[in-house]
Amino acid sequence: MSRAAERAIRAETPNADQAAARGRLEVRGVSKAFTVNGAPIAALNDVSLTVRPGEFVALLGPSGCGKSTLLRLIAGLDRDYKGCIVQDGEAVTSTSLERGIVFQEPRLFPWATVRQNIALGLKNAPISEADKRAAVAAHIALVGLDGFAEAYPHQLSGGMAQRAAIARGLVNRPRLLLLDEPFGALDALTRARLQTELQRIWAHEKITMILVTHDVDEAVFLGDRVVVLAPRPGRISRIFDVPAARPRARSDDDLVRLRNEVLRTLEHDSAADPQLSPGSRRDA
């Protein structure tokens, strides 16, 4: 069966049982160095991580520890690294519609309206124009931008632009979605609402998600696992399982306990980092 046909069927079956087994990601021994002023800088050092199909992984770590770099490598935007990254048995050699990414900055096309920007995500999707229009409209509503469909990016606030970018990343329903601090620019209420929406879509569509955040509460609330990265060079410091059943309550005792433990790990990492004075890290 062709991939297009497969996707069409997947679009028709809401529960997407076929998709359940897909979206597995393996990151094996990945190291990445940048050259800054002629000197190599290790951004990632021997990172290995296996993400199960439909798993929700939250990625935490201090600023500059390589979170965005790791997402870019997984997305297939940067092929210059050591190690290997495999999605569903296929080595990642370029970008794919099966892997979506919401960048740390909104990256909206300034000449296009909100509606047109979100539609970019469906440009090459094998569905009819009518379905595309409906999907775009549904996602505008999903991120609460009704009434701003025809607005240009310069007419949006930072948080609204970020929401448009989230809609653009979601609308295509990739099997694996990478989210780089998608809720960073939002107020507490909108953030909580979008977290719930994201969780709902995740549970319904069984999309594998990797979400970068600086918010420890968000990480333990959303994640099946919380991966903590340590800086210089970026490496995995510790992985926490979040056993709490869903739907979760933010005030759940287990979650609060776990949150404190994650915080301690972050503080411990920053105390061990010679370039940061102990206790100065307050990203969380």
């Binding site: 935007l77 970008t95 794919s96 990256r107 000449w111 970019l120 995500g121 440009k123 240009y152 310069h154």
Partner: protein
Amino acid sequence: MASENIATPSATTALRRGLVLPLLLLVAWEIGSHSGLVNPQFLPPLEKVAGVAWQEVANGELPHALAASLKRDLLGFALGAGVGILVGLLLGLSSIADRIFTTWFNGLKQIALLAWIPLISLWFGFDEAAKIVFIALAASIPVILNTVEGVRSTSTKLREVGEVFRFSGPQLVWSLYLPAATPSVLTGLHLGLIYAWLATIGAEYFMAAGPGIGGLIISGRERFEMALVMLGIVVVGLVGFAVDRSASWIEHRLVRWRQA
């Protein structure tokens, strides 16, 4: 838009201020030609120029010449702009084309435009085709340069968005590079319009066959009708001004998505 309003209190005041110098010049002209300070043969009084203008409009000469010049101008511009955008896109998008042609092109653009006239008339003769080719050449140069610049400056971050959504080559050009380059391309087209009008008059001076404002001025000189020459020059200036203004206006409308 807002910042412009701060810089210029209002468009009408700006226009009023802009009119001061020309008005003073006109007054000086009148005084000069009437007082006998200047030979009226060389500087005919304004009413004489106005009389010639009326006469040329009434006998249809001026509208005919103006229409011929404008048609030539726009045809040459359209040709030059079309070719210019294509060449600019090619140079901007393809590193191979860029390596092969850019040095060559940079050398060519150093050649003064008028220097092309002998070559063009050898190839295309002295009639309409040659003029239009010359005007197109003049218009294409700023269009090419600005299109290349616009395409090259497309943000890498937006290119990555196109990569993530697997844009095909044509999708990249239509949905990313062209819109990203639009402000720059419009600047190029604006300059191209100005160059084209200058080239129109140049072509009519040097390849003086067929009707046109340039031809009108030349015939005025040959018959030593200074008023006709003056009239021609005024019309050339007014058209140039109108072209520039309408281009600015259109440019502004087309890139509304640009903040300020």
